[in-house]
Symmetry: C2
Subunit: 523 residues, 2 copies
């Protein structure tokens, strides 16, 4: 397939007029063809009009049909074959195995949402049957289901060119919920975006669905993004990216005449607690696991362990020493974009002004090579300097040495909201871990014992979310099947004749859903 460099509005390829985006191979800084001229407000208008026209029909597609769309998208992405893998590698500097793995995850995610759609639990069907004889007043027949919010604007992430981009978790969960999707492609991987976007459009066509179910826009500046979030036909936003970007979208969404929800996954430093017994008995293993998690993928994960919290003393010194030795043997790695590399360099310099450098990865020459960094500071300094908990996106982490357990607790209470918090603990650490758990539950969306936060499973129980600024809405997850719940709202039908009820609510329960019927869950 030849890349066209065009916007994709429904089934139409349309040339943009605005400043062009051009992908850069971060390993060489060489620009990649073609150029993607940006869209303007008129293109946003067209895409929103199509999405709005598709919405009522798409949200009422039978569950099986919607599941089939998700599965067909997966099949079409797989059918792109090597072209997709090669383009994604070239645009991101990520190794082939990583991109192949991410493709598997992306398609698996689409299929997981297909299963979730078919299961239908997200409809949350509740039926309270009429009680015409009730005194003092009869009760009406009341039936609730969830329906799609409306067309959703999705902003792809830089660090997951497949799994959190054009056909990523936000798109998959919004389509699963019955929402048409308009993606604003991330500027770092426009070619990957086009390949995947066209695969989606082909799947939409193959399934006989209205073309407005999916569009893909490009734009160099803020014009397209702000126009999208401001359009009255857009009813929710999914975003993965920087704190400043997420906050700007939240503000635009709140400034609308009709404010809308924004699900922005933004900033997290993912504290790792090394409890005393664990640190004492398996210091080397902890150092090994930590450095592997920190440096994986050049540290470019939302769940990268950017903070280590432990009691000061010989065991922690040993850990720092061991981690430092391992880190100093890590080769520098190509980061995703020149911009991300430069922000990493700036972030590392800022940290170095306030904390001590324990170790650096191997130096290297060449474009966009991120050198891992390990910093050390004391709890007092951490508590007195907000800059020490600013996310540095990349393989940089800060060890905070605490005088005592109370200090550890203070540091924990001082943390902003997080995606994850990790407890490295042995049995005898249980009392300390238990005492800290309530704080961590308040701070993070996912808590781990004796693992590492990188690696986010796509499953029913996953929570990839957490209090601000980890996300803009802690009531949800952006990974896992529960992500579908973000794009739904309840509607109640009172005394409807069966002929007018949606299938999910009809009296003889044709979809065989487990309804909450008069206060009892059906078997």
């Amino acid at each position: 397939m030849t890349l066209t460099g065009k916007l994709l509005i429904g089934q139409q390829s349309i040339s943009g007029h605005r400043d062009a985006i051009r992908a850069i191979n971060p390993a060489t800084n060489a620009p990649l063809e073609p150029a993607y001229a940006g869209g303007d407000e008129q293109h946003v208008e067209q895409a929103c009009a199509l999405a709005w026209a598709a919405f009522d029909a798409y949200r009422e597609t039978p569950l099986a049909d919607r599941a089939t769309l998700l599965e067909t998208i997966a099949t079409h992405i797989e059918a792109l074959g090597d072209e997709l893998v090669e383009r994604a590698c070239a645009e991101t500097g990520l190794p082939r195995a990583r991109i192949e793995g991410e493709r598997g995850r992306t398609c698996g995610q689409l299929r997981a949402f297909a299963r979730t759609v078919r299961l239908g639990e997200w409809l949350d069907v509740r039926v309270d049957t009429a009680q015409p004889q009730r005194l003092p007043l009869p009760r009406a027949d009341l039936r609730q289901r969830h329906i799609a919010l409306g067309p959703v604007a999705v902003f792809g992430a830089s660090n997951f060119p497949l799994a959190f981009s054009v056909a990523g978790g936000d798109t998959a969960s919004a389509l699963a919920a019955g929402c048409p999707v308009i993606v604003k492609a991330h500027n770092a991987h426009p070619g990957t975006s086009e390949l995947v976007g066209r695969a989606i459009a082909r799947a939409v066509k193959h399934c006989g669905l209205p073309e407005g179910v999916f569009s893909l826009l490009y734009g160099a500046g803020n014009e397209v993004g702000i126009a999208l979030v401001s359009d009255p036909r857009i009813k929710a936003v999914g975003f993965t990216g920087s704190r400043s970007g997420g906050i700007a979208l939240c503000q635009a969404a709140q400034a609308r005449p009709e404010p809308i929800p924004v699900y922005a996954e933004m900033s997290s430093i993912n504290p790792v607690y090394l409890f005393p017994a664990a640190l004492e008995t398996r210091c080397e293993a902890l150092a090994e696991g930590f450095v592997a998690s920190l440096t994986q993928g050049a540290g470019q994960f939302c769940t990268n362990p950017g903070l280590v919290i432990a009691l000061q003393g010989a065991a922690l010194d040993h850990f720092i020493q061991s981690a430092s030795e391992r880190l100093s043997r890590c080769p520098s790695q190509t980061m995703l974009t020149p911009g991300i590399f430069s922000a990493y360099e700036t972030g590392v310099k800022a940290l170095a002004q306030h904390a001590n450098i324990a170790a650096k990865g191997m130096p290297a020459t060449g474009p966009n090579l991120g050198q891992a960094h390990l910093f050390v500071t004391q709890a007092e300094a951490f508590l007195n300097n907000e800059q020490l908990q600013a996310e540095v996106f990349g393989a940089a982490s800060l060890v905070v040495a605490c005088r005592d357990v109370e200090h550890m607790r203070q540091v924990s209470e001082h943390l902003e909201g997080q995606l994850t918090a990790t407890l490295q603990m042995d049995d005898s650490d249980l009392p300390q871990a238990r005492a800290l758990l309530p704080v961590l539950e308040r701070k993070a969306g996912r808590l781990l014992v004796n693992g590492w936060p990188t690696g986010v499973e796509v499953c029913d129980a996953m929570v990839h979310g957490g209090p601000f600024p980890a996300t803009s809405d802690a009531r949800s997850t952006s990974v896992g099947t529960a992500a579908i719940l973000r794009f739904l709202r309840p509607v109640c039908y009172q005394d409807f004749p069966d002929a007018l009820l949606p299938a999910a609510l009809q009296h003889d329960n044709p979809l065989r859903l487990r309804r909450l019927l008069d206060g009892q869950r059906e078997a």
Copy 2:
């Protein structure tokens, strides 16, 4: 019990220092003792400190204990006996039977949430068990439950001095979710608020729970409210009231360093559609039902039918004539407060500038007597004048005559978000109703056939919510047991030893919850 005129911060009665609130009997305009001197930022600080101190313990109370608290509150409210009924009648001008009914609803609501808490479905427990042999990577053991968001600020409503005030739906659902509650009492019924607030405090004490689980504050201006919503320990807001009040709270919540969700139930005119066959065959019955719903409780309901949409013609003329005759025989009724009465008068005058008056209720002299009004306009006028869809809180309604079905659809698409939409239809109206249904699903939280929107059942299937400006968050309901979901967020526990897991997630499922286990719902 003697009313003290004091704030209630945990178990302590504390005198305010700021300007005093004094209830007014709207039937006589006579002030009622005692005066309630307002709280200040220091009182907010105290209440938030107590709520925060109580939070971790309260949110982990066993489900049975939390249910018992809700039931004990109900018992203590009932034990207030006539004193509560008389004070509420005096403060609101509402008749005794209405207040007694509302007390029943309030206590029933508390008990419904107790059942919901015990059932535990709101925990949404999901378990994905470990797959250590999985290739290419093993799967960890992942378990999700929902936990309480944190202390919640509740702003009581004027029009439900019991059911949507101090111990109303917001308080009941937040306490059910495990959130401590701080109520800012509505200025219209401070004595009723004190009686109920002290009943809650006694129940908290009786159940041996930390005092910070509940506080009750008073304040004449915005100081207490804004301080509450701005306090970093407050994690969500429940509000029922005006559009401007709700929007102000949303803005304050968004301006925080950590924005928080606001559930504001604000403004709705609740369109009623009279379809041709229904209008033809039961015009008189429709007029009777409509006028009864419109004038009930002086029209002071969020779900009051403020808009009637129908095709122009003889049948609609007949309906307007019949409704007008009935309305003109309706006595004026005491409204809740001089402020609400005055706003109603202003709203009616504004409507009269843009629509024709079809009928007025019986004139009367005396304070705060709201006279019902029926207006008529054409669809063109409605489409061209936003003022015609501004809520007038009270017994005023506007009939919009449409030239044809397409016009009816245009009017519907032009509507802002609503709490309800009602279809009056016969069998032969089914095709028209079906064609309009997608629009109404997008516009409203509850759709009714052949009923009237006033009267909101507290049950599992109820949705008292809807798109902006009906509420600030269409993803939720403020009435019914699903309201508990507003105050929760998911947390995932990865590879936790059983000893550290909350009971809801432990391996042998001691709470006997129906978990989503490896993708299948347990029986």
